[in-house]
Chain length 209, copies 2
């Protein structure tokens, strides 16, 4: 709308970009928030108003990709579940493929900085929960709907996560979405070993099968 919001968006971008630059040059752990603020020519106080934690400076892009896919899915209530799940998966991957360098840098930082890894897992968990909630609404409302939805969302997230981990290592030779489709057909054709209820782990427990 007004000049205010434009300027706000501009400084937001400026801070995020300078932060990313410093992280890449010196590493996440060896970059202080004060340095970032100084590089963006704002006070630390202002920086914290835009980004509540240091980790959000790194992970905002991933968060947006996941968030967009979920809200897109919410707006497609007529979609068949299986097709919808595929579409969500592909949508996330499509968004991530927009900026492979960024994704790779994020995963590198996560690999060597515990707090970044933790925050990333947190985002993933949130995506999974949101997706599960939406799935439950579309499942037949029996007493297992919530359970089923959680499992389905977990599998979808699992595919995304696994595909991305492969893809970030070889972004040039790998097509994330076709890899995802391989995962889907592996799942559907029994190419993945699934746990089977054929083994008793301990006989001295009070549990009866």
């Amino acid at each position: 709308m007004g000049l205010r919001e434009v300027k706000r968006e501009r400084t937001r971008r400026l801070i995020a970009d300078k932060a990313f630059e410093l992280f890449n040059d010196n590493g996440f752990g060896r970059t202080t928030v004060e340095q970032i603020a100084a590089a963006a020519e704002v006070g630390p106080s202002t920086l914290y108003r835009y980004f509540p934690t240091k980790e959000t400076l790194v992970l905002e892009f991933v968060e947006d990709c996941l968030g967009d896919a979920v809200s897109w899915f919410r707006e497609q209530p007529e979609l068949e579940l299986t097709a919808g799940l595929q579409a969500v998966i592909e949508r996330v991957l499509e968004q991530l493929e927009t900026n492979p360098g960024r994704v790779r840098a994020v995963f590198d930082m996560a690999a060597q900085t515990a707090s970044v890894s933790a925050h990333l897992n947190e985002l993933i968990w949130r995506f999974r929960t949101d997706l599960a909630d939406e799935l439950v609404l579309r499942l037949p409302a029996d007493n297992r709907a919530e359970f089923t939805g959680a499992l389905a969302a977990g599998i979808a997230m699992n595919i995304i996560e696994t595909v991305v981990r492969v893809w970030v290592d070889t972004p040039d030779t790998t097509d994330a979405r076709s890899l995802a489709r391989q995962a889907m057909s592996l799942l559907r054709t029994g190419g993945i070993p699934l746990p089977a209820a054929t083994y008793r782990v301990s006989d001295n427990s009070g549990y009866d099968s």
Copy 2:
């Protein structure tokens, strides 16, 4: 062996117990490390030698449950994959059922404290990675082994996670392991909607199916 290790284990337990007590009484965020150290009658310095972060004071139990299950699995190389996966799942749940109050408290803290949730997700991720590595060793060594192993480990972890979340809310009326078996048979019988490669998410991408 000697008196030294006995004493070390004793103070370790003492610190963890006092910490858990304080967390339950005052909440995780409103308990400082100095308070815990004072309650356990040790210096903060000593506390940090035993527990590198405040979160490990909460999550050590869960970490042990997951770690034990993985190392148990590593020692059973002859086990069929499907049976092995089930056994790992049941073993984790069995261990967690040892102390339902603790598990519940951990999940409560995770629900209201971001850093605990993050650290918990971190543990889960580590379990998944370790399990995947072990699975890869047992899969036929084609170029998809790593991929397949990661997906299988993710599904196993997904079952555990989903079951535990249901179980912690109703620990008295729910049997975690039988719930897990329900999840397994749902998966095997197609009771879970899986993503299917039947939908084109966008036609303007350079991707051809």
